[in-house]
Amino acid sequence: MSVKNWVLAGAGAMKLRHLLLIVAGIVSLYALLLLTNVNPGDAGHRLVKGTLGLDMVNGHLSFVSANAISGTLRETCPLLIAGIAVFIALQAGLFNIGVEGQLIVGALTCAAIALRIPGIPGIVLGTIGAVIMGAVWALPAGLIRAYRGGHEVITTIMLNSVAIYVTNGIVSGPLKDVKQESPTTPTLADSSRLPFLYNTSNAQISSGILIGLLLLVAFAFWLRRFVSGYELRAVGSNPVAAKLAGVKTAKTIVMSMVVSGGIAGLAGAVQVLGYTFRYYQDFSQGYGFNALGVALLAGSNPLGIIPAAFFFGLLTKGSSALQVLGIPKDSGFVVLGLLIIVFATIRYRKLISVTES
């Protein structure tokens, strides 16, 4: 597939339902603004300025704030990588609700390693450690599903709780920065951070987003062009037919869960190395859960993860930009919740008409 085809495929992933969804998002935001008694025009202006950095200057639409777009990309990056993690499990027919836990376990592991080993070796080893720990955290759920039939939704939710309390315990104890009041690790040295793509005093764009994009392209290629990708999708679409086609379904389930966990761990590592530079209590603001929405929104085409993650990032950054107007920050999540319901209705309506016929 040529580059042009890739772009076309990406555009193809952007279907009518996505447009509908964006319209629904704007409408529900508008309704929310009316409820909170805020002038929608003013809010819209702030929203565009606060997320994309665009504003009207002397009657021309101009780019005025690098800070705004860098903040949006910062929110997009973990959702993009964690979205890939959810998506790969989904392709094998598994709901990995445990991305949240796998992500924080990976983040803590990465911070612990990068704090001890300075420079590029620390970055590399920290990332590898995070991937391994994320994978290890997902492994039990995969094994239980494949060989005992225990549902991965239940086991991964349990593993999330374990992850949250274990990481909180560690960051309050052995890894705590003694100079700080709150439970957090010390901050990484500059040499232990991912390089910036853009770096000025008021805005930085980390190369983390680039890692996410490259990973996504590689993953999309693997899914379509490798026999193992084909087999994984077959297991997700019809496990019985896949088994009769000679696919080792149990192994495929375990593998996809482990890879999903590994990528979730990577999302945690990138977050630490590229954005937060430390690990602290309650590290993830629900990235793993929002990633479920991202993967759902992406539909069946992996390239759909890009617009979906960006859209989620936009809403998250947008709701903090609107805080100035007295709109609670969590209102963004209200809108997200509404959107996921609308999307599910559009997407799964078809299933019902099939069962009726």
Binding site: R225, F226, K243, L244, A245, G246, V247, K248
Partner: protein, 498 residues
Amino acid sequence: MPVLEMLGISKSFGAVKALDDVSLSVEKGSIHALVGENGAGKTTLMRILYGATAMDSGTINLNGQSAHISSSAQAISHGIGMVSQHYSIIPELTNLQNLMLGAEPGWTISNKKAASRADELATRMGFSFDWNASASTLSPAGAQKLEILKLLWRNAEIMILDEPTAMLSPADSNALFESLKQLTEAGATVVLVTHRLPEVISHCKEVTVLRGGKFVGSKPVEETNTEELAEMIVGHPLTELAPHQAVGRETARLTLQNLSAKGYRGDLAVNGLSMELYQGELLGIAGVDGNGQRELFQVLTGGLKPESGSINWDGEDITSSTIGNRIAKGFRLIPEDRHAEGVIDDWPLEENAALGLQKQPPFANGAYVDQHGRKGAAEKIAAMFNTKHGGLNNPMSSLSGGNQQRFVAGRVLFLNPQLILAFQPARGLDIDATRKLYDAIRSKCLEGACAIVVSFDLDEILIHCDRVAVMHAGHILNPPKGSEHDRQAIGRLMVGAA
């Protein structure tokens, strides 16, 4: 006066004209057969009558009066009921709950009262049911009977049965027709959609033939015969049947020794079975459903581990070899349940073409998918049995059932098959396509492969297979010398009588 008249019915799906000015007239108290190839429009016509599909134009008269039917609820209130090809029995519910489902007597349910009415209906038909038993224990014949009782429960006067005998043994089919006869004598009317012409000749009063969405003709059954009907259905004289091949039993390719395997109930569904399959052989296994045919196939494909015994292929013990390894040796399966086992509905045809063959060229190039090779292969697979499709990028679900079956059969024969395992391969195929499929299997056998076909339709096996065996209670029984193709002798073996 006919109890049911459908006049000038037309229906298009997009650009496809599924029905073009079709008429049907059914006398009260008769069994009226509706026959035709796949895609002839039989099911569409019946779905229009049942209110499940809206017609574009035409009229429906019931007892001489024009009737407006735009939903299944309206059809039911007019006394029309339908049993589709796929049973709608819910295994998690009891028989009684299934019977009432959707037509409960009121806001509250008295199981006692309901069971007594259910018993009354069952006795009228000569059936008997344990109403509190779980429906998961029903045999296919039992499920079919329950479906018919569901229609009676809803006071249906006109019953549409879509391929009711597709899953039944000859004995069960005969019993079913006995019950239908009783029903029609009591004043009910049956419209029977079927592929099986002998059934039409022996049990129906009138027959209507459709072809390509058009009305071909209606005849009293006593004025016609299977050959004439077959020609009306396909529109031209049928291809000659290939003669049975006598195979020199020289090279045994598949040897099963003392093979036992557990069924889903935990009993030994395959029970100490031994048999040999020779190079070039096309073996048909007849038998009543539920005698271990399914488990035998699962053991042969590698999906079920045998409890004891051995499987030898070309002299090599493959008892514990995986499904994938067997596929690599040339084992190919036409599965019983195409939807659940053979295809991925929402994938394009091109990707479905590779299913099972995904590791081998031309579908793969090492670890990579060979997209070019796969496309070419998919074209050949679709062409083998003239699968009608709107493009290889369309999803499998866009094909009719018969065309899906053609595609699956094409895939099985595409890449050097050595052991062809076919479970009810003619399901959903018309007469001509069935002949072509068996011819293609036989020509692979003549090239050195061998094949085992399981069917519950004894006639299909007698007509098409070179050697006939019977599966009964987990054993393979061979008909006595001199009556290898004798219907009576084989029928006796099927019910376990020597």
